[in-house]
């Protein structure tokens, strides 16, 4: 029986909530950049296709526009996949070098953003394998990281504690297999739906769900063996008590519940 769910969806991502307080200076280049296809610019898919074709033919301006349109999303994805790391910029560069080299092989069978995400996850996987960027945690008190991420009045101690918790979470993630780790990060942290993860990983949705299930099961067990991290997490859960926390945005949950 199909039951109708009336759902209130809130897009109150942290970024949206933060926007009123964290005004970041932006250069003129941002004001004129084309809207990203991934951020809802569906009507621009044709434009993007044209840009891709032009970039393939060696049009430098077109390549640059693709770069500008997608760099923020790629940056966020790398940041999620790597966790707190000083290597984000290096990997970002590596990704766009790969894009530059392999754009000719993009045949338009998938959306460009999906292709780019797949390429990014591959580059990050290679990077992690090389052992270059096992979540190296920025030493406590690293001024730049604290400043850039929280340009606000949050105390350095609170920032350091949060950084430690996030590092610890990534240590647990590192205990998973590559495939499970990627599925979990893309789904639980990056907020992608299982269907989107499936496209990026190029596997059936059911496989993604299976990976997610076992990844979480392993993580729960690992977390249960980390009393210090559990205690740290308790302080977070007490703030959210009253509602069994959703793992991702309500929108994604609702979509999956509906499906």
């Amino acid at each position: 029986m199909c039951r109708a769910h009336h759902v209130l969806v809130s897009n109150h991502s942290a970024a949206a909530l933060q926007a009123p307080f964290a005004k970041r200076p932006q250069g003129a280049i941002f004001a004129t950049r084309p809207r990203s296809a991934m951020s809802g610019g569906r009507t621009r898919v044709g434009d993007e296709q044209e840009l891709i074709e032009r970039a393939k033919a060696g049009d430098q301006a077109a390549f640059r526009r693709l770069f500008v349109a997608h760099r923020e999303q790629v940056l966020r994805l790398i940041h999620r996949l790597l966790g707190p790391s000083n290597d984000v910029e290096d990997v970002l560069q590596e990704v766009f070098i790969h894009v530059y080299r392999s754009l000719g092989s993009f045949r338009g069978e998938a959306r460009f953003s999906t292709w780019l995400y797949r390429l990014t996850t591959n580059v990050v996987r290679m990077h992690l394998r090389k052992g270059k960027s096992r979540p190296k945690l920025v030493p406590a008190g690293d001024r730049e990281e604290v400043m850039l991420e929280k340009p606000n009045t949050e105390t350095p101690a609170a920032v350091a504690e949060r950084t430690e918790r996030i590092k610890a979470l990534y240590r647990l993630l590192d205990g998973l297999s590559e495939k499970k780790r990627e599925a979990l990060v893309l789904h639980d942290l990056q907020g992608m739906s299982a269907a989107e993860v499936a496209k990026v990983a190029d596997v059936p949705v059911l496989t993604v769900r299976t990976r997610l299930f076992y990844a979480r099961k392993e993580l729960y067990a690992a977390l249960a063996n980390e009393p210090a991290l559990q205690n740290a997490a308790k302080s977070l859960t007490s703030a959210a008590r009253g509602k069994r926390g959703k793992k991702r945005t309500a929108a994604v949950e609702a979509e999956e519940a509906g499906s």
């Binding site: 759902v7 209130l8 897009n11 109150h12 909530l17 307080f21 910029e89 996030i166």
Partner: protein, 489 residues
Amino acid sequence: MKEHEPKVMALEAYRDDLLSAAGRARFERHLGECSVCTEHLEVMDQYAALVDEAAALDAPEINWDRFEARLDAALDEVDAEAEAPAQAPAPRETSNVRRLFWPAMVAAAAAVLFVINPGAEQGQGEQASTEQATGQPPTPAPEPEKVTGWVTLAAHDATVQRADGEPEGAKPGGPIEEGMSLRTGPESELHVRLAKDTGMVVWPDSEVTIEGLRDNGVRLTLVRGTVSNTVRKLGEGEHYEVTSGEYTTHVRGTRFAVRRIEGEVSVALFEGRVEITRAGERQAILEPGGKWTARERLVDMTDRAPHGMTESSSSWPTVALPVLPEVVTWELGDHSYSATGGLAMRQPPGPLQLGFTDTRGTRHALTIDVGTDGTELSEKAVDEVLAEAQAAREGYLSPEQITPVVRSGLAQLQRCYERSLRRDPELKGRLKLRIRVAPNGKVSRAQLKGKLPIELERCIESQAKQWSFPRPKGGPVSFDVPLNFQAKR
């Protein structure tokens, strides 16, 4: 008490509200007896909280200009690798190099020669400067004496390099002599006094070589980037030249700028008169306010005068503005400088007004008392200004403080929506709920921005007013909660 291996799938279904009412009731009865299950649920909550926190963390900010320059260099290597097995190396500009972007990395063959002779009449001037352009000085003169200029302002990591030496960080008061190369990075800048009332601003991402610095004139080579020049009225036989490749520009004015972006040379004139030639043929004559470019696209250039051009600036004390965590840009006069590196300049003793922008983008004013021995701005002085401003501005709540309250309040809003659905089963909509949190943490205002039935709006607003946040730091806080009401099957 029942003890068993927790059934993760069942616990997840319960946790995600996927059980039927009866199933949920049964499960909750079981939970009452199963400590393993409740412990496991707690671990799941903890995991969810950790994930929420990690997902809320912003990616590090990237200095895109610098990144692009770096990427461009890396792509050059890719091109070079790709071209290596092919024929003998071709000149960069003629190969199929996808030189992508950025002014910082562009060094095309185009070139500029500026000869300034504002003291001459126009006709004589043209002749004289053309002669200079061909390398023939108008009048033979005894070997002119070398002179020394000095740095009046150095921002960030600008460097100075002697022909036979290593690059050194530029410092105010540091000597500038013939044969030196001056380089600036994406955020650095250098102001130099070359001669009486004569000097230049080397803009970010630029390189200038001092080919000649003598008592009869100045010869510069602009390798890349932008240089703004201020030149006093020159006497007979004196010259001021900025040289690069195929273009020759004869400047009879005293304030001009030249820029090279992606191989395109542009000239802007702010005072005086300029003639631009290429291989001896006139391309253009510019009047004040005029601009010229070798190609179609005109580039806006602002008129900039170097700092501290007066004779006495050599004896002025140095004011140093260190890197401070709260400061994003420094503002001196009508120009702002990135504060990610130090800024130091020669400054006459006395009060110095400057501005700075903090990490929230707010601008502040500050006065420094410059002593005769120089001054370094203290972090404390900036903190005091910020504390004062803090008292007068909006407060702050972190996303971590807001998110849990909003999330737990969504259930109440959901009930409002469900009540309205009884009247209109197709009801849906997107809107923003603007919340203002008073200093005591209570919601002082909840207002919907969007179209919904009035009874639903009232219900939502009244529910949201009951939310209670932690006390914001520093004053009241406003933010928007985006909502999307949709009936999903």
